[in-house]
Structures are given as C-alpha cells and as structure tokens.
Symmetry: C3
C-alpha cells in the first residue's frame, strides 16, 4: 500500500475549517496521505466553474490520485453521492450533480455511495465532504473496489456542456468562467479550430486580436489565444478581461478562420 494522494476541490472557503476537517479524517486513517488543495474557493455553488477547474487540473496529477470534489447545493437531499472510475483508473468522489461532467469519459464506471457497510454512519446531514466522501476516499486508498461502495449508476447527472459551433470558416462559442487574472476561458477548444488559422476575433461583437501569449498584446487591448488548458481564452495584457467586458459568463466569441476564407 503506497502513500495515497488525495486532491480536494470545494467551495467551502480555504479558511472555513471545513477543508481542514476533511484532511483530519483522511490523515487520521492514513497518516501517510498526501493532500493537495486544488481550490476551496470555487465560486459558491457554481457547478460549471467547479467542473472546468477539475477539467483543467485533474490531467496533471498521477492517475493513482483520488479526487474529492464537493460543490454541493443539494447536500442532505436525496441526490446521490458518486464514486467514479475512469478508464485510466482515476478515481473521483463527488455529489451526483454534474460536477464531474467533463471527467466522465466513455467507459467510466460510476457507483452511488451507500452509507453503511464499511462506511461509518454520517455524523451530520450537512457535511458529506467530511462524513461521506472522505471516509469513502479512505476505503478506496486502502484498495477497496469502487463497486463495493454501492450500486452502479448508469445515468450520472450531467451538466449541459457548452461546446463550440464550427461552420463555414468560423467558430462560435461563449465565455464560461474567469481565472483570478480576469482571463476568460471559453467553450472553444484548440481542437475546434481544426488546425485553421484565426484571422479575426470578435467578443460580444467587439474586435479582439489573436495572439500567442499575453505579452504580445498592447495595454488595454482585448486578446484571444489558446490558453494553458487547451481552451481559447480572452485576456488583456496585465489587466482583467472580465472587468473590461463587465462579465465572465455568456460573452459571445466568434473566431473567423483564414483557411475558410480562402475557400470562399
């Protein structure tokens, strides 16, 4: 049994003491645990923001990591609690509310964690992160078969997942979330460009410039580029695109491609 690696992604607030209680449970059972905070400041109850953060971060961790994710407006209701295992063996624990949407690759198996059995009875109705997901993570780390945690789930809840629309020489999408710099990630992925070169960019109808990196921009200029997570991002050099545009979600993005124009 090698030292387990757990990651935590929540909207609890880093200073709330709630992440610390989860860590206490993990470390009481596994003094050798390594625990990494992905974020405890996911915008409150914002499942899409949490899902995008997980999408960006999970691939960089070892596949053996166990990811706990708790953004959970429905805690205490009948919503299911999921354990999911993707085809590469990554393990996820999260409420069944769509938070795992981008991680449920084809072939992922999911199970509804059933309290009882090897799991201790929950200590509260309001803190499944500590009372359900952390104990389940401890079982997984000890080698428990995910299927032993509860019945299979064939229909995990999925968020409507914003995708780009590609057609005749252009790709359209929308902004989804801001990082702390005010850079906006969008629903357009690198692959949506299909190798095409971007000639023109519009953000909410205003022109932006396609660049390789922030530093290629002029102060105050709206920029678009492939961000570090493989999504098109809207940015302003050393300033906040979110502040400039006045919002983070729902800006329409239009990329006009060179290749397509040449084909006209």
């Amino acid at each position: 049994m090698s030292a387990p690696l757990f990651t935590l992604t929540t909207d609890f607030g880093a200073a709330s003491g709630y992440p610390a209680q989860m860590k206490g449970v993990l470390l009481a059972a596994r003094p050798d645990a390594r625990i990494v905070d992905v974020s405890h400041d996911v915008p409150r109850h914002d499942l899409l923001a949490g899902a995008l953060l997980l999408e960006a971060c999970v691939p960089w961790f070892p596949r053996s990591a166990i990811h706990l994710a708790v953004v959970d407006p429905g805690v205490g209701t009948a919503r299911r609690a999921l354990c999911a295992v993707d085809p590469e063996g990554r393990r996820f624990l999260a409420p069944d509310n769509g938070l795992l949407t981008p991680l449920l690759a084809p072939g992922t198996r999911a199970f509804a964690i059933a309290p009882g059995g090897a799991l201790p009875p929950p200590r509260s109705a309001t803190f499944h992160g500590r009372d359900l997901f952390a104990p389940a993570a401890v079982l997984l780390a000890a080698g428990a078969d995910p299927a032993s945690l509860g019945p299979a789930v064939e229909d995990p809840v999925l968020l409507p997942w914003p995708r780009a629309e590609a057609r005749a020489g252009e790709v359209r999408g929308e902004s989804l979330a801001a990082d702390p710099f005010g850079n906006l990630v969008t629903s357009i992925r690198d692959a949506d460009l299909a190798g095409g070169q971007v000639e023109r960019v519009e953000v909410d109808g205003c022109p932006a410039r396609w660049v390789r990196t922030f530093a290629d921009g002029h102060p105050g200029e709206l920029l678009a580029m492939i961000g570090s997570g493989g999504r098109v991002e809207i940015a302003v050099r050393e300033a906040s695109a979110a502040a400039l545009l006045g919002r983070t979600r729902g800006c329409t993005i239009r990329l006009v491609l060179v290749r397509a124009e040449g084909a006209c």
Copy 2:
C-alpha cells in the same frame, strides 16, 4: 519517531509569508513533518472566532497531532506562551489569551513556555509563531515532555464562553461567528436541546424554520438546524444568513421545544 503532524491556525493571512516561515522552521527540523493549515484567515485578533474554529476542527485530527494556534494581539507583552496537553494526549501551543478555551478539558495540563534551555533565543519580538511556538512544537515532536518547556500553569486565561440558557420549554442563545457561506454558528449545542424537538425558532425576534439541512429551506427563508459541528446554526439556502441579518455576532436565538410545550 514517526512522522509528526502539525496543524496551523492563525490570523496571519495565507498569503502573508508568515505561515510559510513557520513551515520552514518545522521542516528544517523535521523534513518528515506533515503540516495542515486549519486557517490563516481567522478574523484578525478575534479570539472567539479562532477558539470556535479550533473546537470544530481539532477533534477530527489524530490525537498525536500537535496544534499550533496563533491569534495574538498581545505578542511581545508579558502574556504567557502556553503548551497544553489534554487528557487524551492532544498537544496545543498557543498564546495564553483564551484562544484554547474550548480545548482545555478537565485534566488538561498546561505549561508556560520559557525561552532558553532547549529552545533557541527568539529571533524577534513580534513573531512568536515562528520564533517560539514552532521551535517548541519541534521539541514536542521529538518526544520532549511538555513539562520540560516551562513551569506549570494552573490558571490559563479563559474566554467568557457563551453558553445556551435552557428553561421551561425553551433554549436561548446567541450567534457567535459566520462561516464563509454566511451560516451563523450559535452558542446552542445539540446537547442543550436534551433530546427535545424544536417547534419554533426566533432569530432576533423573527421567525425561522427548524430543518434538517439547507436544502429543506425555501429561497430566502431563515433556517435553523444542527450544524456539522454539533452547534445550532442559522442559515439561508444558497444564501448568507449573516448578510440577511446584517451581523454575525450577537443575534439572539430562541428555540421553543415541543416536549416542553406538551408539559405546560
């Protein structure tokens, strides 16, 4: 000597570099140390908030953990520096200013850390977290007897500790602190209800509804429930009770119990 586990609870600010300096001292002495941040954003100089946070978090950690807590408006004065060991062997290091109040269970032994001896001379007059408590924690982790750190303290400073008043069919208390969701923890504990069922709740004279969990509430409705730390909490579903009530501390809470009414 197994790998020591230290927890840190301060009001230094996570980004201030002060927690990192404490960790540097711990890791320089004990490269095998595991360190968990409980919070570095306790409201500045708020001893009650810090004490409540410790009360909520400490029980979830292994008893072998060494807890460093520094909310310390009096650093550099003659206030004593405490090392305390509770009857279950938990070890605490903190200024003697009441911060440990809820953790000083009967039978806890306390000592006033005396610089000198095995401790290095303090490097500053203003940063005991790094210069006194962290080195003391290293000694404890190496197996030092807490009594070797300094003279016994029979009268540790205690905060006036807010408690509920139970009488003829009702329990009264007050709000004490808010978590980042704006949920208010109160001075009423689960045990204060003595198994009675709550029929009516008033918060500052306004009605609130007794529920099992957040999701049982309607949007905008003031709720009361047993929180995950065993205290009655005041909450609003997917919103902030603190914002709704306009304050976090000092709201009067009144719970009317069914059992008592039946006895009238």
Copy 3:
C-alpha cells in the same frame, strides 16, 4: 535520493487551479515531494513585493529546498527563465525579471533554462510555472547539475533595490509593501541603524513612536519597530498602518538616532 522539498511563490491566486497544476506535475514525477505554498497571492505582477516575500521566507527553509517563484508579466516573451544556485546550495527557479534580486548573493551561479534536452517541450506559451519551471525542478530534485539546464547567465536582471540612506545621525528610507495586517515593511534594515538608538521617527513627516513590539503602542498611534524579517516596519497596534497612511509604497521614513545627536 531523499524526499525533495519544493516551495511555490506566485501571483496566480490560491484558488485558480494553477498552483494545483504545478503540484500535479511535481507529484507525478516525485510522489514523495513535499510542497509548501509561500504565497499564491503576491500582488499581481508586483516583482518588488514578490522579491521581498522571498527575502523574508527563503532563509527559514532547509537549504536543500528548491524554490519556484513565478511572478511573470513577460511570460511567453523572450525573457530568460532562470535557474540559480546560491553559495549555500539553495536552488531557485524563476523568470529572469528581477524577482530573485535579494537572493542573488555574491557567488550565486545562474543559468538560462533551455527547453529541450531532458526537459519536455512546453505544453503552452502562457504557463511556464507548470510547463518549464516545474519540470526543471523535478530534474534538480533528481540531482541534475543546474549547469545542465542551459547556458550560464552572467547578467541576471536585477530590480533597482531600495536601500536606506544613513548620514549624520539619521537614516532615511521608504515604505515598500504591506503585510495583511497593514504593517509596512521599509527599505531600512536593522543593520542600517549600526547599533544606534532611535530617538525620533517621522513617516511622511508625521511623528511615529519607536517601540519594541506592537503591543507597546496606544490605539491609533503610528509605530516603528524592527520587524520579524529584520527590516524596520511601520505599524499601528491592532490596526492597519497602510490604511492610516493611505498607501503602502513610497512613504518616506526618517529615523533620528540618539548616538548621532549626542555627537553633534
């Protein structure tokens, strides 16, 4: 190969997911890694603030630690990426933009990290923390010679470094940055006093009182003292000097020394 210790200092925001991605890279390569966050909330793109934070924190870590520091407005430009090794063996990875200024002690060797060779090709143009510095840190932790990372750099970029001016009985300097308490660190170091006793302090022409620690002050009174990092700090007991003075950088500080006055 003992377990490596990495520290991270960035302006990415603790909740952004970017620090987590760096940790994922480090842990994927070195499951035994210990990682300490110095801060992820260095004021955005503020090289001086980042440099002062590193100056304050680095000395407390074991010399074997590998320090990654990324405050990097020029990411993606031709600015060099540095690996530096000081005469005591401390290793630093940071953009060559002055962020390491106070750590480049005489005798420090520096190298410009050249992608390629043992380093994987960068995965993005905008996130060298994850794609360049973290992989380079992994190589160093595995024992790679810093010189193997790229060509020697004889002229690392240095920030103009604010220093105190000492003359006939007084020392002048300026405020540089605030900690989360609102205490201002200044360009005057303990050593600049040359053992002289401070008789009078002026901050932007207003009198302040020289004390040993915060608690020696009266409420609202402007104080000056030797801070825990060896720099003169300006503070207000249980309040924010930055708020009182209305700014954090550029306040003029004047210390009049007793010894000098006696010599007049």
